[in-house]
């Protein structure tokens, strides 16, 4: 039995509740959220669910098409590649490498970018302007190009991709947070708090930050999809994860040799990337439109 309402007055949700209601009213965004939860589970459990080792080569089952094809076999659900490696297992192991790594990269870039961005945002005058120019310069290098520069210095490899994409993403966070903090700082409610005698730290954390979190959230969703695409692109260019790795972009690169006779070796990892990035963009879009009325 529902609790009887004793009072006439309207109940107003907390900001978080409002956000959730507005977010949940968009079915696509919720679908994206489920997809991300599914992927997060796969990041943890993927290797356990995989029927084969990702590097295990089966010389009896080379270039087997997916199981729904006439020539396919049910033991290799998504078929095998030119070395007889099971694509399904490789995709499951790859979730950790592509999606999991993009999360780690974005979180590290977010932490670094948050610290630098909020410090520089609170500064005024020359220091702030110098930092602004520096960031403009770093931002004008496309993230992939910056990543390529880092790889050119350090050499290819999955750990270097971490640094490359991380360094490429950090300026974007710094820039977004710097700008948001700076903009809020000009507003009158901050002046009011200052007149009340709030210290710099109090102004930053209790006055400004509640209005900046949404920028951080939106920037994070954008950054995750950029990170996935960059990691995969570097893998595809053979500058990131190297040959036997089951990183999705690298899998596409390894499938290039048998592209003409076995197109599924590139289609399946490609679809996996598309699915992941699409679900993140759906959630990001949903969050943006849910946050829009609150921000304005």
């Amino acid at each position: 039995m529902p609790i009887k309402k004793l009072y006439q007055e309207e109940q107003i949700d907390s900001p978080l509740g409002q956000l959730w209601h507005s977010f949940a009213s968009n079915p696509f965004a919720v679908a994206g959220l489920w997809a991300i939860i599914f992927l997060l589970i796969l990041v943890v459990l993927g290797p356990l669910l995989a029927p084969f080792q990702p590097e295990m080569q089966n010389p009896d089952a080379i270039l087997l098409p997916p199981s729904w094809d006439q020539a396919g076999h049910v033991s290799h659900f998504l078929g095998t590649d030119d070395l007889g490696r099971d694509l399904f297992s490789r995709i499951l192991h790859g979730v950790r490498l592509t999606f999991g790594m993009s999360l780690i990269v974005v979180i590290s870039a977010l932490v670094v970018g948050f610290v630098i961005g909020s410090l520089s945002g609170m500064m005024r005058g020359l220091k702030s302007s110098i930092l602004g120019h520096l960031l403009d310069a770093l931002l004008s290098i496309p993230s992939l190009l910056l990543a390529i520069l880092v790889v050119a210095v350090t050499g290819p490899g999955l750990t270097n991709v971490f640094w490359a994409v991380g360094i490429a993403l950090t300026p974007q966070f710094v820039r977004a947070i710097h700008q948001a903090v700076h903009e809020e700082l000009q507003k009158e409610y901050v002046t009011a708090a200052k007149i009340d005698g709030a210290s710099q730290i109090q102004i930053f954390w209790y006055v400004i930050m509640p209005n900046v979190w949404d920028v951080v959230i939106i920037q994070t969703t954008i950054a995750i999809s950029v990170a996935i695409l960059d990691i995969a692109a570097l893998g595809f260019l053979n500058l990131g994860a190297q040959a036997p790795s089951s990183e999705w972009g690298s899998m596409i690169f390894q499938g290039l040799n048998s592209l003409l006779i076995a197109p599924w070796t590139i289609t399946i990892p490609g679809l996996a990337i598309l699915f992941t990035v699409l679900s993140i963009n759906l959630v990001g879009d949903g969050l943006r439109s849910a946050l829009a009325p609150i921000r304005n």
Partner: protein
Amino acid sequence: MWRYFVRRINLFFVTSIVMISVIFFATGMFPVEKGYALSGIQFPTVEQQAQTVEDYNLEDNQLNQFIAYVTQRLSGNLGISVNSQQSVADELSAVLPASFELSLFAGCIAVFFGVPLGVIASLSASKTIQRSILAITLTGYSIPVFWLGLTLALWFGVHLEWLPISGQINLLYEIEPVTGFMLIDTLLSERPYAISAFKDALLHIILPAVTLAVLPFTVVIRITRQAMMTVMTQTYIRAAEARGLNTFRILIRHALPNALIPVLKAFGLMLGSFASYGILVEVIFSWPGVGLWLINGIYQRDYTVIQAGILSVSLLIIFLSIMIDLVHTTINPINRKELYAN
């Protein structure tokens, strides 16, 4: 206006200097001897060694080295390529036009198809059309471009055999470069096969350009739609309706020019990702542009090419985004008001 102009020019110089110093810093970190990374001469003779040391001020402190580096690079000395032993500046000027051609073509495709679709999406009342256009744009946003390129090449190039999938033109045609834009060069060419060469070049550009156009296309649709929806609620549109103008005229003359201003801005913001997509597309379709050249330079550890490639692309992006910013300010009256108000 002039103050703003000067400030933007300043910004361009400061940003470029920062950019060059990032590349200078990275050059110092390359896992080879510094003189080699700077000049591209792997086994220099005594004179060459002395020349490199003198050119780049290698025995001085870092600051003077940096000044020497900037002077050398800006005076057009980009060193020689480690692999081809050619001057990097010459190679760069040979590959740049091809990239421009591809990106311009892709940009035009995006605008020609994106703007009308965006307008339709903003005007149509039907939920299905709106939803499907949004779904298309979101997919276009999320699709990995290298995979899309491969799939298109596989389908239209290999299975259907409609379009060629690699290079800029069939090697049978010998076209002397004038502008570097293959489509223009073939038309300018005096040879008897000029027209068929033009057709061939046109066929070659379609697949890479369409692949590259997907990202700007989706962005243009989204921004146009959003801008049109805001513009159509403005009072001056209602005034135009009240004057009895027909809808088409209102759209073209009154609403669209204002709706296109944010599209221009979005183009400026998109340049970076557009360039990285361009690199991937060039690699997939072996398009002889800067991207392919740069990636090959990395595979071959060609340090001078890497520097020149990254330097040229990023300087171009800085320059273009500041240009777009300037144009945006000049044509947008609202922006101007803000400028003068301060």
